[in-house]
């Protein structure tokens, strides 16, 4: 990876002037990822905050070729573009090496877009799929998704006498990607720019499908101050709720190990969406949350060969 000074000199591919909220984690992640591409990039975008807020016609914040069609099919759309490119290259109509990337939120990736993503992985297209995961449908106003963690308040997992917010644990999409046996899968977070940039560079250099699952906070939905985005994101990593790891050709590697594994409470307490968990009636959910995290973390350490023998 080139030094930061060099990276900073690369042209901005997602420019200022977009209308994403102050404190949104998504554009931070996208800019870091695109800065890691050392060749031209073509992007597809699923419907969502990122798509809507960056492309209010006749304006666009994208300095690269960009395509959007619907909500459930960013992976299929980039498949079409990448296939056209390979055909043209084969016929000698294009010489240049071009990277292809698809961006989707967790709704467009974990839920409605999973079918087309799975298809594209299985066919083995050379593309990077980036899920900017803010753990709910934020564009329509904070509805639960299968990436929303246990106990989180959303407008469709309400908190009251009957319900304690979302009653299910989140889907582990990163492991679903690994199960497709694609050459590169990684989890990252914008608060660790170096980790994210390195993984993005590896993803772009991968001959075949690569998947980056990037936790990117939405302060409107998570209910924290806009200035705290990176702090809240990093806490998820330090509480081992969002471990930073990669799987290269089936080989697991932990890319960041917190010096001290913090209790999940520290992450939960800084977000309004979990405040009800601190009332006596729902405190048991914090223990369940911790148990889920511990179990996933232990399994991951084992896969990464990090467990003490």
């Amino acid at each position: 990876m080139p030094p930061l000074k060099e990276l900073a000199k690369r042209p901005e591919r997602l420019t200022s002037g977009h209308r994403l909220c102050a404190g949104c984690g998504a554009p931070i992640a996208i800019r870091l990822i695109l800065a890691a591409a050392d060749k031209p990039v073509v992007a597809a975008n699923a419907t969502g905050c990122l798509e809507v807020s960056t492309t209010i016609f006749p304006y666009t914040a994208w300095n690269i070729p960009w395509i959007h069609s619907a909500f459930e099919n960013a992976a299929a759309t980039i498949t079409g573009v990448e296939t056209m490119y390979r055909a043209k290259k084969k016929r000698g109509e294009i010489d240049e090496d071009i990277y292809f990337v698809a961006f989707g939120g967790d709704g467009g990736t974990y839920d409605i877009g999973l079918q087309s993503l799975s298809g594209a992985w299985e066919r083995g297209h050379r593309f990077v799929y980036v899920c900017y995961n803010n753990e709910a449908y934020m564009n329509t106003g904070i509805q639960r998704s299968s990436a929303t963690p246990l106990g989180a308040w959303t407008t469709t997992s309400p908190v009251g006498k009957v319900l304690p917010g979302k009653t299910q644990w989140r889907k582990n999409l990163t492991e679903i990607a690994v199960a497709h046996d694609i050459p590169y899968v990684a989890q990252s977070v914008p608060s660790n720019w170096r980790d994210l940039t390195l993984k993005a560079e590896k993803a772009f250099h991968t001959e075949g499908p690569a998947f980056l699952n990037v936790l990117a906070s939405c302060n409107r939905g998570w209910r924290h101050l806009p200035a705290d985005t990176l702090k809240v994101n990093q806490l998820a990593v330090d509480c081992c709720i969002w471990p930073l790891y990669e799987v290269e050709n089936g080989e697991y590697r932990l890319t960041y190990k917190p010096r001290e594994k913090k209790p999940v409470e520290e992450w939960l307490k800084v977000q309004g969406r979990f405040q009800h968990l601190f009332s006596p009636a729902y405190r048991y959910l914090i223990d369940e949350f911790q148990a889920y995290v511990d179990r996933e973390w232990e399994r991951l350490l084992e896969k990464c060969g990090e467990t003490k023998k």
């Binding site: 959007h68 999973l114 106003g141």
Partner: protein, 355 residues
Amino acid sequence: MERILMKGNEALAEAAIQAGCRFYFGYPITPQTEISEYLSRRLPEVGGVFLQAESEIAAINMVYGAASTGVRVMTSSSGPGISLKQEGISYLASAELPCVIVNMSRGGPGLGNIQPAQSDYFQATRGGGHGDYRTLVLAPSSVQELVSLTHRAFYLADKYRNPVKILGDGMLGQMMEPVTWEAVELPSLPPKNWAIKGKNEGERKFILCMELDPRELENFNRKLERKYQQMAEEDSAWEIFGEEDNPDLLLVGFGTVARILKSVVREGKKEGWRLSLIRPITLFPFPYNEVQEMAQKAGKVLVVEMNLGQMVEDVKLGVEGKAPVHFYGRVGGMIPTVDEILQKIADILRGEGRK
């Protein structure tokens, strides 16, 4: 009698609960997400089930499953989401399963925008999916009517064993109006002997939507046809507003546009024009006869829609060439104003309006 200021989407959701709907399968899309949000809070309170699916396709097929057991069930969406549901809606119509499908439609085609439009008229009234089938389509024009027609939608769904669509738009879903909550009386319905309840009682039941023998499938299609004819005979609904006899011009509009046309009728009076409005409340079945009768009285017809001209085709089918039919449409989420329509009427009455 309780009178409450309510948002259209929330009033519809509450009306569904009062109509006995205990199962709702949704997926977020603007401008109807409040229906999901409201029901996620309210359904658990009344022992019902709110379920957010992973896609609209999943949601409509959940409706198929629940409707097979004979319960009252609803889903809601907008434009792009309704398109994704079409395969399931065709299957529901074929399996003759009652359910209510709400479309708070928005500007299209494609992703379009989230402003109100009536551009899903064709999709709603012609079935929408593949095959020869129709769904009843109710077109509310106020928040109060979102309530009454939701009750009616569940009743009609059960009466005909057929999906019923409520075709609103972003404006009706998002606006707030006072709603009077009163007991709704609807005719009684026969028991759902066809429903599969897994109780091992009575004869073995089948709910099918496949018939490989073409003769049998033709018989089935004829049966559906008779059902659609019965809908037209017994359940088409409309409202007439303004001049009943000898109007100078007949206005035709549904939903949001009909509200504007009522203002046009009133303003037209100040110009000395005798205007009449017919507002189809059921878009399928469409009140063809009543439109023709009124059109013959008026001699001139103006259809106003928030699309490029969809219901105007049904109006022409109804009028059968007995009066010239003019059209005025705004699209893309733009809402026609009273002044624009008055101008159009002035042109027609002066003989300058293009048909």
